[in-house]
Amino acid sequence: MSTETTNVHAEEAGHGEHDTMTKKRIWRVFYILLGITCIEFFIALYLVPHYNSGGNASHWANPIYIVLTLFKAFYIVGYFMHLKFEKLDMALAIIVPVLFIIGLILVLTNESHYWIDLRL
């Protein structure tokens, strides 16, 4: 039993040393974030004004913005905040509660469609 305890501690001390953020990785994530932001600007400043004949560019542009934003969130949380390198249990303890937010989004989007019918 005593050897088992020692092994546990050795494993604990060794963990977290191998997989971490190197300078190279930090700058790579920075260029990804910068690139995604540039794509968003390109859509907002060039594509939307040029392909907005029907006035409903938001129908295709908004989903793209949201997906790109989620990508940026993944890179910030995963790499800058290091969550990708934490234990899976730890990552789940943070990520699973965040999924409740989806519930609020669904409820309030549904509700807002009802409100607009009241207002018009």
Binding site: M1, E4, T5, N7, V8, E12, H15, G16, T20, M21, T22, K23, I26, W27, F30, L33, L34, T37, E40, F41, I43, A44, L45, G55, S58, A61, N62, Y65, I66, L68, T69, K72, A73, I76, V77, F80, M81, H82, E86, K87, D89, M90, A93, I94, P97, V98, F100, I101, L104, I105, L108, T109, E111, S112, H113, W115, I116, R119, L120
Partner: protein, 245 residues
């Protein structure tokens, strides 16, 4: 019959959850920082989702490309997203210098930690300066909590549908909602940036005083780093939902 026989049930398990050590393999303070940020994420999402619901249910809304088309102090019209793009760049950049400080901390390189922390503080202060300039500009146009510009100015911020502008009543109603939500949400975010700058200054003073060198670990830099990245993360969402959508 011997009583010394070990039954399988008596064996001490050594899974991460069998006690005696941190199952997440994370220091207490860092885990608590994560849980605080989780609660903060709920606060910000409540604010942003309320904004989304009000905007969805509004018959019209001030167009971001018309409201945010100035570079305060330089360009008055026709430069949509340029200023906020710079603000976004400053904040992402300060996030990078923050990870670089954490990385230097892993190597116990005190001087480098101080240098990157100072860059991070500088980035935070620049962002706050930009936000102050933008708030001043919008306030100058007539926007504030519960206040909207005069009818003459207000109609400049709306796009016509089939060559018809929304009625003044509709413009006034949604502009009030826009003003209240914009100042509340960017104000709450700006307050987080401000707190972050103060905390970063405290940590930098501690680094200079050699507190973490004596402790043998720069874990505090990592914890304040988590907070700082979270502030950047929230800005990514504010940027999308106020300036792009």
């Amino acid at each position: 019959m011997s009583t010394a026989v070990t039954q399988p049930m008596d064996e001490v398990k050594s899974t991460p959850w069998s006690g005696g050590r941190s199952p997440f393999n994370v220091e207490y303070g860092k885990l608590m920082m994560w849980f605080f940020l989780l609660s903060d994420a709920f606060t910000f999402s409540s604010l942003l989702i309320s904004y989304g619901a009000l905007r969805f249910s509004a018959p019209t809304w001030p167009a971001p490309s018309l409201v945010f088309q100035s570079f305060p102090g330089l360009i008055e019209h026709g430069a949509p997203l340029v200023f906020v793009g710079m603000m976004t760049f400053i904040l992402i950049m300060s996030s990078v210098t923050m990870v670089l400080a954490v990385e230097a901390g892993h190597r116990n390189a005190k001087k480098e930690v101080v240098m990157w922390m100072l860059f991070t503080i500088l980035g935070g202060l620049m962002f706050l300066g930009c936000q102050a300039a933008e708030w001043t500009h919008l306030h100058g146009e007539g926007f504030w909590w519960g206040h909207i510009p005069t009818a003459e100015v207000l109609k400049e911020f709306f796009q016509a549908h089939n060559n018809v502008l929304p009625s003044y009543a509709q413009q006034a109603m949604t502009s009030h909602q826009f003003a209240n939500l914009f100042f509340t949400i960017t104000g709450f975010h700006g307050f987080h940036v401000f707190s972050g700058v103060i905390i970063n200054i405290i940590i930098t003073v501690n680094v200079l005083a050699g507190t973490y060198q004596k402790r043998g670990s720069y874990l505090m830099v990592e914890k304040v780093g988590l907070y700082w990245h979270f502030v950047d993360l929230v800005w990514v969402f504010v940027f999308t939902f106020f300036y792009l959508v």
